[in-house]
């Protein structure tokens, strides 16, 4: 087997074998899907946001082990963060929390960052005044 398999550490393997926050949110406030099969992985992140804070996050991923682990970890990390904080989310957070990724797999963490930002963009488009907690229900 290739080095890539042995390069995955225990945390990456754990998030791959037992992904957290898997699935969709039926009443999501923001959904982002990034990536395409042509260039690798596809990640979809759904967010439930209340009072400007991320209450729940779910993911679905088409991709390799580290893509699945990266999206699982990313959803764990952003739960509870404010929208403003989450807008500054970086792929480095994912790499750090996973205890490192093989160099050829760094792009998986970048995709996780992109997916979160796409979901936040979607939320901000749908809720133009995120600062006002009592915005009209849609």
């Amino acid at each position: 087997m290739s080095d890539i398999y042995t390069l995955y550490n225990e945390t990456v393997m754990d998030h791959f074998m037992n992904p957290r926050n898997l699935g969709d949110l039926a009443d999501a406030d923001g959904v982002g899907e990034v990536g395409a099969a042509a260039c690798g992985d596809i990640m979809k992140i759904s967010l439930k946001i209340k009072d400007g804070r991320i209450e729940d996050a779910r993911f679905k991923t088409f991709g390799c082990g580290s893509a699945i682990a990266s999206s699982s970890m990313a959803t764990e990390l952003i739960k509870g963060r404010s929208v403003q904080e989450a807008l500054h989310f970086s792929n480095q957070d994912v790499i750090q929390a996973l205890g490192g990724l093989p160099p050829v797999k760094i792009h998986c963490s970048v995709l996780a960052e992109e997916a979160i930002k796409a979901a936040l963009d979607d939320y901000l488009k749908r809720h133009p005044a995120p600062a006002a907690p009592a915005a009209q229900p849609t």
Binding site: S2, I4, Y5, P19, E33, A36, F62, I68, I106, H107
Partner: protein
Amino acid sequence: MSERKIRYFDNNATTPVAPEVVEAMLPFYTELWGNPSSAYGFGHQVAGHIEAARAKVAALIGAEPREVVFTSCGTESNNTAIHSALMAQPDKRHVVSTMVEHSANLKYCEFLRQRGFEVTYLPVDGGGALDLGRLEAALRPDTALVSVMLANNETGVLFPVAEVAAICRRKGVLCHTDAVQAAGKIPVDVRQLGVDLLSLSAHKLHAPKGIGLLYVKRRTRFQPYLMGGHQEKGRRGGTENVAYMVGFGRAAELALERLAESSRRIGALRDRLEETLLAAVPDTVRNGAKEPRLPNTSSLAFDFVEAEAVLMLLDQLGICASSGSACTTGSLDPSHVLQAMGLSPMRARGSLRFSLGSTTTEEDVDYLLAHLPGIIRRLRAISPLCAAHPDNDRYDVAAARARQAKELTSLANG
């Protein structure tokens, strides 16, 4: 973990060395270790064993022993064939090959192209087949060589090499075939094929890695690739790897002896594996035509999942298989073979190759069949893709590729 049983479905990658082969090789490390080129008897006696091995590998492909040049591997054989054809015919600057060859062939052709030679890469259809009319039309007065593989390493699909060679003969063009995946799995006979050059690798048929051969038809003009001593009648310099040559000889003998029986047995196992998976797992397709194909290979696309994730879960169970994707080598592109066959990127990325061999048992197949459908279900539950949404077509692929390229460059420099 290390003591768990390994279920090996990757015989196109390599095979275990047969005990008979190891046994045949050992004396050449302990007693008969002299240099066959030496003048004294202790060294020179070894030369006879090389010639005996040469006769055995020649018999496997229906060649005369003197038409066999031992090399270090299939890659060297392929490189040598192309190099020789061009160097021995300096007035010719054109090579015809296909889009689905092994990288040993494609990379060398690309190297030549960058140095002013011309290469035509023939396409294949959805089943992986060549259009012979197109091949004939690609031949020019300055074509030095046609190089097409006998059996594809990823799909097992066979090319009609005998017909290709007949066209080449008519047009006065040399014909080479990479038969690395075919030997030991189907009969390979250089006279029936009618080729001028043919590559083989020993480790695909239960001999060690690090030895191969190039068949050079009698009276074919030849230019060595490795130049040095007079070994291999001046066709390949370098002190002979005697033990490996002897091992290759023994493995060839065993392959010839067992070919009919083992290909029948392995073919039945492969068919059961493939037919069961196609029936049990929805949205699964075979890559490449069902026939003509190697009896041991099955390439299957499991839509909506990515192969590396499947391989990792199989690995947890001790099952070794491989993907149709080059992802694990750091390349971001899916398999060039599956892409040439027109598979969508999603389907190419979800492709797995199972290649069976003489050590594969009914129980191994049962074990795989018991676990794989569940693994596919599990990964499909994680995947955002489905029949209604087979890819994310709103993503800017070009921009992402540019970003990834930049990332890889900074990684390489950092």
